[in-house]
């Protein structure tokens, strides 16, 4: 008769520790975890490569052009892309190498007669690589966001940060699975090819962005200020990635014949991964909005309340307002007496949230525009436009006369900024010769005509 396993007394080390306070046990456990992490990090082959990639990332992102600087979510997207494509893939390759360390060192007999299972052994070998990769990512992100913080107060898109950490975990786990089962020398190369091809696949596969691109999410784009991260979708993707990582670590652990994880645990992990994949793939979203959504009526806005036109932005861009308010005051003085100047101007999409008409000034190139850029935006937004009924039989817009184009040029001149456009209008030199009052009268009449699909009146002689 087979005696039940539990009846067999175990070695002294496995004896429970009765009488030891829970606090003391917890502190001993924490101390051991710290020691294991310190040992593995110190001896990890990932230490130097990831340190180097962190330094390179900081230098590269800190010296890059200013297109994305200041927009916290775009800064995070830039770092996310670097982390996933460079740090993550290199970490995956190192994990592939590290997963084969027991076989290379001849430790399999000792490990296969141990009590911890293969998955724990793999996890111990590769988890420090994930830790190092995450640290590298966070350091580069801190450096890049530090640069953003100089020009714009904001907060990182935390969902994207969490998803990046999850992508790194999945990449390391994929490396571990490949490294456990492939010959040690070829495993890192195969891992690099697999992880890179997986990341690039959505670009080449039709509809890949909405399928594969959501399962292996490397977001290689910048988001318009009108967009904001979709935390629910990002966190769902993070959960999926962690389920896959667990599954891959269990697959890697199966390589340890004596202490392989059970098929039951493998099946449970596979089921969890399949369910989480469903949560990622089933919700239908528009192209380009896999992990971001367009801001809508419910999103908070903030507006200037000084003289001149009211300027409204999304609440998280509120630190734009002081500089824009200053420009709006100057603009109000320069446009005193003009009737066509809009009373409310707004960032893209804000009009919907305001619930009242507002002229879209477009997106600034930086979240806190210079006085000149803010004035140019106000001038551009104030240029008379053909009214909504100005559509000809052929569908073409009626209006947009050459003379009306002179108005922004005149306003720019009054504000002392380079002409936004219209300086080449034939009417401009003649308008310049007029007094301000006569300029205003003509511009009001021209704007009125433009709105009603008519030709503006001729510029009076000086």
């Amino acid at each position: 008769m087979t005696a039940p396993t539990t009846s067999v007394p175990r070695g002294r080390s496995h004896v429970e520790e009765p009488g030891v306070p829970a606090g003391r046990r917890a502190s001993a456990c924490a101390r051991q975890v710290r020691r294991v992490v310190a040992t593995e990090v110190r001896t990890s082959p990932a230490l130097l490569p990831i340190a180097a990639l962190t330094v390179i990332g900081c230098l590269r992102l800190a010296s890059a052009d200013a297109q994305w600087v200041g927009y916290w979510q775009n800064t995070t997207l830039k770092v996310h892309t670097y982390a996933c494509i460079v740090i993550g893939i290199v970490s995956g390759a190192i994990a592939a190498w590290q997963a084969g360390r027991s076989r290379a060192a001849g430790l399999h007999p000792m490990e296969n007669t141990a009590t911890v299972d293969g998955a724990s052994i793999v996890l111990r070998a590769v988890a420090p690589i994930w830790l190092l990769a995450t640290t590298g990512f966070l350091l580069v992100l801190a450096a890049a966001l530090g640069r953003s913080a100089v020009v714009h107060a904001g907060t990182p898109p935390w969902g994207l940060v969490v998803m990046t950490v999850a992508v790194l975990g999945m990449q390391v786990a994929a490396g571990a699975a490949l490294g456990a089962w492939l010959p040690r020398r070829s495993a890192p190369v195969v891992t690099i090819v697999v992880l890179y091809a997986g990341g690039a696949a959505p670009v080449y596969v039709e509809g890949g962005e909405r399928t594969w691109g959501r399962l292996y999410p490397i977001v290689q784009q910048l988001w318009d200020p009108l967009m904001r991260e979709a935390p629910a979708r990002l966190l769902t993707a993070s959960a999926w990635l962690m389920c896959v990582a667990v599954l891959l670590v269990l697959v890697a652990g199966r390589r340890w014949a004596g202490v392989r994880p059970s098929l039951t645990s493998l099946a449970a992990a596979a089921t969890l991964a399949a369910v989480s994949a469903g949560f990622v793939l089933v919700p239908q979203v528009a192209p380009g909005e896999q992990f971001a959504s367009v801001r809508g009526a419910g999103d908070p806005v903030a507006c200037t309340n000084g003289s001149g036109p009211t300027f409204c932005v999304w609440a998280d861009h509120a630190d734009t307002l002081p500089s824009v308010a200053g420009a709006a005051s100057a603009f109000a003085r320069a446009t005193d007496g003009l009737t066509f100047i809009p009373t409310t101007l707004a960032e893209p999409g804000v009009a919907r949230a305001l619930g009242r008409p507002a002229v879209d000034v477009g997106a600034f190139t930086a979240p806190v525009p210079s006085r000149e850029e803010a004035l140019a935006a106000l001038v551009t937004a104030s240029a008379p436009q053909p009214g909504p009924t100005c559509i000809g039989a052929d569908g073409a817009v009626i209006g947009g006369s050459d003379a009306a184009r002179a108005i922004p040029a005149i306003l720019s001149e009054r504000l002392g900024i380079p002409p936004v456009f219209g300086a080449d209008s034939a009417a401009y030199p003649r308008l310049e010769q007029l007094t301000v009052a006569r300029q205003n009268a003509w511009m009001n009449a021209a704007a009125e005509a433009e709105v009603h699909c008519a030709e503006p009146p001729p510029v009076p002689a000086s």
Binding site: T5, V8, H14, T39, H108, P109, M110
Partner: protein, 252 residues
């Protein structure tokens, strides 16, 4: 229930080679030497006893439960087992203490007991002063001693040492024998199996000898009985070697 580790009717076949043939042997508390030429089947028997190899026929029983690889008692055997394999591998960048801690972790030791157990294991193998040295900086003999520390850190009830003195110089082998005697004095109930083809090592530490020849068990006796000396007399390596050759010759 005793801690006996039993191989019962064990045969192992690899393709056309029969590495073990119907071996039945019971390992009880004390040090048992496993003696045999190269290729006699010592490492295969070690593999079967430790669960690394599944026997083609027969069974391994530990403390009354079938304990071969994949059998219910295997987990209990692994929890009670310390193994120093023939080719002891290690991570070169680990420090000595870190590597023994790694072995403790592999055996799921309670965190609270690890520091003390590692201290004791390093004291036993006389490597306290080298605990901060990296593994790759150690000589072969010292590395083997770390191997013993790893195999004993969790105070196993079954200790399996597969050719532990292979390639060691005289001084290191002497140190090794001393360590083994210390261990046995401290844990007299421990089942220790020492595989070697060096009769001198077996004679120095084993009270019982099991001899294998071409995969068959050809002798299982008290060392003194095999050599033919009194209970008080020391068994010399030369005497055991002669007895061993006599057994093999008689079989041939």
């Amino acid at each position: 229930m005793t801690d006996a580790l039993v191989a019962r009717g064990v045969s192992v076949r690899f393709a056309r080679t029969e590495a073990l043939r119907d071996v039945t042997v019971e390992f009880t508390p004390g040090v048992t030497g496993l003696l045999g030429h190269n290729g006699a089947g010592k490492s295969t028997l070690m593999g079967v006893l430790t669960g690394l190899l599944r026997p083609t026929e027969g069974e391994v029983v530990f403390a009354g439960s079938p304990a071969a690889a994949g059998q219910p008692g295997n987990a209990a055997l692994r929890a009670s087992l310390g193994l120093l394999p023939q080719k002891f591998g290690y991570f070169g960048n680990f420090r000595v203490r870190e590597f023994v801690e790694y072995a403790a972790w592999l055996h799921s030791m309670k965190p609270l007991s690890v520091p003390g157990a590692v201290d004791r294991a390093l004291e036993t193998v006389r490597l306290v002063d080298r605990q901060d040295a990296t593994m790759k900086s150690l000589s072969g003999g010292m590395a083997q001693r770390v191997g013993i520390a790893c195999a004993t850190v969790h105070e196993p009830r079954v200790l399996v040492l597969d050719e532990p003195t292979n390639g060691l110089d005289i001084e290191q082998r002497d140190i090794f024998r001393g360590i083994l005697r210390d261990l046995q004095q401290r844990h007299p109930q421990q089942v220790t199996i020492l595989s070697s083809h060096l009769a001198e090592d077996i004679a120095a530490v084993c009270e019982r000898v099991v001899i294998l020849q071409q995969g068959r068990l050809v002798a299982d006796a008290q060392t003194r009985d095999l050599v033919g000396v009194d209970a008080d007399a020391e068994v010399s390596g030369v005497a055991l070697e002669q007895a061993y050759l006599r057994v093999l010759g008689a079989r041939a």
